[in-house]
């Protein structure tokens, strides 16, 4: 792999984060959030280093970071002291995304970014992701929802058994993608 033209194996979480790669798991309760902690504490998790000069937490920097997140994603209710576990699925997902975006990654890897998210929050998450992409953030989405991919992506790559079998840019319909994913067997 190459990062900014330099080879990098990215074989550890640490190496990936240093290279500006952030990952949002499809399992936000299992691998994304600390449910019994507050929204605020979850949001700053990936920027702890930056907001704690000399190892001491800076209230000011922390508040700024949280405010930035709330400005980017409309997390409801707007209460940083609420436990994340008490939020709806959609708002929990916004917290996970906001947390990773806060770390200013160069590449954001999303696995099923709207699983268990209600319709309203979905639309909002898509809009934010498009905005972030327009600002120059690279976003790679893995999803099993065709409408999601079609609506969200500039480029869709179909993988079958680990190999790229088709690539689409621009308008494409669900049927065509599924056809490529299923291979020839689909026609017969």
């Amino acid at each position: 792999m190459e990062v900014d033209g330099r080879p990098d194996k990215l074989d550890t979480i640490h190496a990936s984060r240093r290279a500006g790669v952030a990952f949002v798991t499809d399992d936000r309760r299992g691998g994304g959030l600390m449910l019994q902690m507050t929204v605020g504490r979850n949001l700053v998790m990936s920027v702890l280093r930056a907001i704690s000069p000399r190892g001491l937490m800076s209230k000011r920097l922390e508040n700024e970071a949280v405010k930035r997140s709330f400005g980017q994603f409309d997390i409801r209710p707007r209460n940083v002291e609420l436990k994340v576990g008490a939020l709806s699925g959609g708002n929990q997902q916004k917290v996970v995304l906001a947390k990773e975006v806060l770390g200013s990654p160069k590449l954001l890897l999303l696995d099923e970014p709207t699983r268990g998210v209600d319709v309203g929050a979905k639309g909002e998450i898509y809009a934010r992701l498009r905005e972030l992409a327009a600002q120059g953030l690279g976003i790679l989405v893995a999803s099993s929802e065709m409408p999601e991919l079609i609506g969200l992506c500039d480029r869709i790559v179909v993988l079958r058994e680990g190999r790229s079998v088709a690539e689409f840019q621009g308008a494409v319909d669900e049927h065509t993608i599924l056809e490529a994913a299923a291979g020839k067997a689909f026609h017969e």
């Binding site: 691998g31 449910l35 979905k122 929802e145 609506g151």
Partner: protein, 356 residues
């Protein structure tokens, strides 16, 4: 979990008014009780102590300065251990070795000064470092081999007792003070004394200072956030770049350090080192931490709670003693309080949707 997935994302609808978001929740009264449970418990015990205290010449014995000094002195060793234990339990771990490590530390302290002829500072430094190393080894084994800390520290308990028996040859090592070989520096005896007009026990001062430092570390440092993160969700912490293994090892180093401090205080208070002392202290400490509102599931807890829980248990034991109630009943009362604290915690977790 999955709600209907029908909205064609291409439509890019602006954020709809949120579904069923409900108004921001009012503070859950139960959560509030749990948050301050140890302080509430402490207040209740103190009120009960005053009400049921034997009186002499109209004076409430429970509130007599000597009695209060006794309470805070008696809890200082388990309190120091409980402070360390709070870090471990917040990471969802447990350390059963601390009582035995207190015994080992008291033996090491006495042996070095009496038989080794070491001065005060080398002795203290060596015992504290030994405690840190002992804890760090347990933490390393637990993280490296992915073993439950319960098992690793259970083995650590046995190891510490075994080492203490070897070092002391299963004998009390009496500490006598003076200058010359076979005598400890007289200044060490200060640990058994009281300061400020003979009121405040030195052991308690050590406990309070330790608690203050731990509170600051847990609440205001990046390290403290890391500790909470590891217990809150280890996988999420790792993905967020938290050095999970290092944090886990470090919290066991902290309990090791705490046990060593408590062992030194023990040796100073009682003027001997004994391989069999500190037995069951780990359980008292864990009880104090849980009563203090720290979750055994990790990710939540407070130092203030632990201190309050520690003093509450000490005050309760004291009230019962003053009334000549048998130790058996003390154990039963402690048991009831632990169960109550755990039940309250579980109820809150259910409400917060952490258990389904």
């Amino acid at each position: 979990m999955n709600e209907a997935l029908t909205d064609p994302p291409g439509s890019q609808t602006p954020a709809q008014p949120q579904r069923a978001e409900a108004a921001p929740r009012r503070r859950d009264p139960l959560a509030l009780v749990v948050r301050f449970q140890s302080l509430i418990g402490l207040v209740l015990v103190v009120i009960g102590g005053i009400a049921f205290s034997p009186r002499r010449h109209g004076q409430i014995l429970f509130l007599a300065p000597d009695n209060i000094a006794n309470i805070v002195r008696a809890v200082s060793e388990t309190g120091i251990i409980a402070i360390g234990m709070t870090f471990v339990i917040i990471t969802a771990g447990i350390d059963l070795s601390v009582g035995a490590l207190l015994g080992l530390s008291s033996v090491l302290t006495a042996t070095m000064m009496i038989y080794g002829g070491f001065g005060l500072l080398p002795t203290l430094a060596a015992v504290l470092i030994a405690g840190i190393v002992f804890g760090a080894i347990q933490g390393t084994i637990s993280t490296r081999f992915r073993l439950e800390p319960f098992i690793v520290t259970l083995a650590g308990l046995q190891a510490a007792r075994g080492l203490a028996l070897v070092v002391s040859d299963n004998q009390y090592i009496n500490i006598s003070y003076g200058d010359g070989p076979g005598l400890a520096p007289p200044v060490f005896a200060v640990l058994g004394e009281r300061l400020f007009n003979n009121v405040v026990p030195v052991a308690t001062v050590v406990f309070v200072v330790f608690a203050a430092i731990a509170t600051i570390v847990l609440n205001t440092t990046r390290y403290g956030r890391y500790v909470f993160a590891v217990g809150g969700n280890e996988r999420a912490a790792r993905l967020s770049g938290v050095p999970v293994s290092a944090i886990k090892i470090s919290v066991y180093a902290i309990t090791g350090f705490a046990a060593a401090v408590a062992g030194i205080v023990h040796a100073g208070q009682f003027n001997f080192g004994s391989a069999n002392d500190g037995m069951g202290y780990e359980l008292t400490a864990i009880a104090a931490v849980v009563i203090g509102g720290t979750s055994l599931f990790g990710g939540a807890g407070s130092m203030v709670g632990t201190v309050a829980g520690t003093i509450m248990l000490g005050a309760l034991a004291n009230v019962l003693q003053l009334n000549n109630i048998t130790p058996a009943l003390q154990l039963l009362a402690t048991a009831a309080i632990i169960v109550l604290a755990a039940v309250l915690q579980s109820l809150v977790r259910r409400r917060e949707g952490l258990i389904r």
